[in-house]
Symmetry: C2
Subunit: 280 residues, 2 copies
């Protein structure tokens, strides 16, 4: 498990660093970023995993969310993986679209050829990456998870499927019901095949009903988000939570869109939410 | 003076907006960004002009500096122009370098053909853009100016050449002595010609000696900045200020580099510095 340093930048008294490593889960080299707050110099700190949306790499969140200031204040590390396996040997969408293939792994384990060999972002994010991070940096095994859009879907699904593994979960504008929106149906058809019954284990709304752990969900959603009605569908999440009596704080934010300007405006509140759970 | 909206994003209760307009000073269309804090809905707010560095557009600062949170708290608008004239009709460096031509206007008025027709970023930033901004948005004529690297040079030179026009000035890693560093000498040769006596009116260290107004300078400089010794030379600025008894707060920041991670780490302190002056 060797890590090659790609970049290191001092940030709010801590460090933003990028590393390349070979992922056995994904069968390719991967780059991820970590923000280590100043407190990490004196002992292990908890970790928030951030899952980004379509087309992103580790860089979007680290450069645009403005999260380091509050992470430094609260003493939380943040780890941002890439959004898919990449590289010449990794099959991409033959049509070159932005919403499937490279940059669009959807945080599932693909079962459908030719994607099943590499597209195992679920296993990477849940297992391989935390094992690597916890072995390589001064961090504890107290974990939180959050993300945006496709990454919001990823964060919610991963928390729901792994009771006890995360202390807290939140999302910005998640794809709440991917089995019934164009982005999700395209991705799941490609990664999982045509049998829709196999899709349900990757759908937040389906998982909520049978969740063995009732971890409260914090979700922010911009009301001016152009993807609100067709792709994100937060009302489906609200309905699923109400039916299952699952704790949800869904905040509709007037005027906000799908951009990192939206995320930056509310990231501090999410970090405080996670810090409160991580301190317990 | 018509403005075409390019983008509008809600941000920290205010608005980040981008506009395109035709600049008569530069003889081309230009895009700039403005952050309007929530207070602008209730009356005029003061404005900080931010000048970016080589290769940047208006987007780098707005996306990466994390300035909107504190600007919203303090009630300050921020205007970020582009770093040069652009477009097919605007001559670029024939060698296509990053440090001359498009993206590298150096905030001077060029006198040397073929650049003298378009490269008048000084007049644009000092006159045309503020006139447009103050006519178009709920802002007052209380102005501050700051910038990074090439833009730090621009902010210092513009403040020094315009006593009374800015309430405060600051810079991150400015090119402090452009007449005696590779970036500056290349740009000034191209924009101003071979006669180095004409360069002096665009050099902070030369202007400090005869400054009619002793506006205090706040400068942050990363000690791990790879351009520190060859290009930026903050010690020249310190010497010039000491000789002229010009007030300077030069803060060397251990471990910080030239990136926006550095800027983001200290932007709040610069905004507070400007807010204190703008409130007077």
């Amino acid at each position: 498990m060797s890590l090659e340093t790609v970049a290191a930048n001092r940030s709010f008294g801590g460090w933003h660093k990028r590393f390349r490593h070979h992922s056995t889960t994904l069968g390719c080299d991967m780059v991820f970023a970590i923000y280590l707050p100043p407190q990490a110099e004196h002992g292990p700190v908890p970790v928030l995993y951030w899952l980004s949306g379509l087309t992103c790499t580790d860089e979007n969140f680290m450069q645009k969310a403005g999260a380091q200031r509050m992470a430094a204040e609260l003493g939380i590390a943040i780890v941002a993986p890439d959004t898919s396996p990449r590289g010449e040997g990794v099959p991409d969408d033959p049509e070159g679209s932005y919403d499937f293939g490279h940059g669009a792994g959807f945080y599932v384990n693909a079962t459908h050829a030719p994607f099943d060999k590499h597209y195992r972002m679920y296993d990477y994010v849940v297992s391989e990456l935390p094992t690597l991070v916890e072995a390589s940096f001064p961090v504890s095994d107290a974990r939180a998870i959050s993300g945006h859009s496709m990454g919001g879907h990823g964060a919610l699904v991963i928390a729901l499927k792994n009771p006890g593994r995360y202390r807290s979960v939140s999302a910005f504008a998640p794809i709440a019901n991917p089995t019934d929106c164009p982005w999700g149906r395209k991705a799941f058809t490609g990664y999982l095949g045509e049998d829709e019954t196999a899709w349900r284990e990757w759908d937040t709304c389906a998982l909520i009903a049978e969740a063995p752990e009732r971890l409260p969900l914090l979700v922010d959603q911009g009301e001016a988000d152009p993807f609100l009605e067709d792709q994100l569908r937060p009302q489906r999440l609200a309905q699923a939570c109400e039916r299952a009596n699952h704790p949800l704080t869904l905040r509709m934010q007037p005027g906000y869109d799908h951009s990192y300007y939206f995320i930056a405006s509310f990231i501090d509140e999410h970090l405080r939410h996670h810090a409160a759970a991580l301190r317990r």
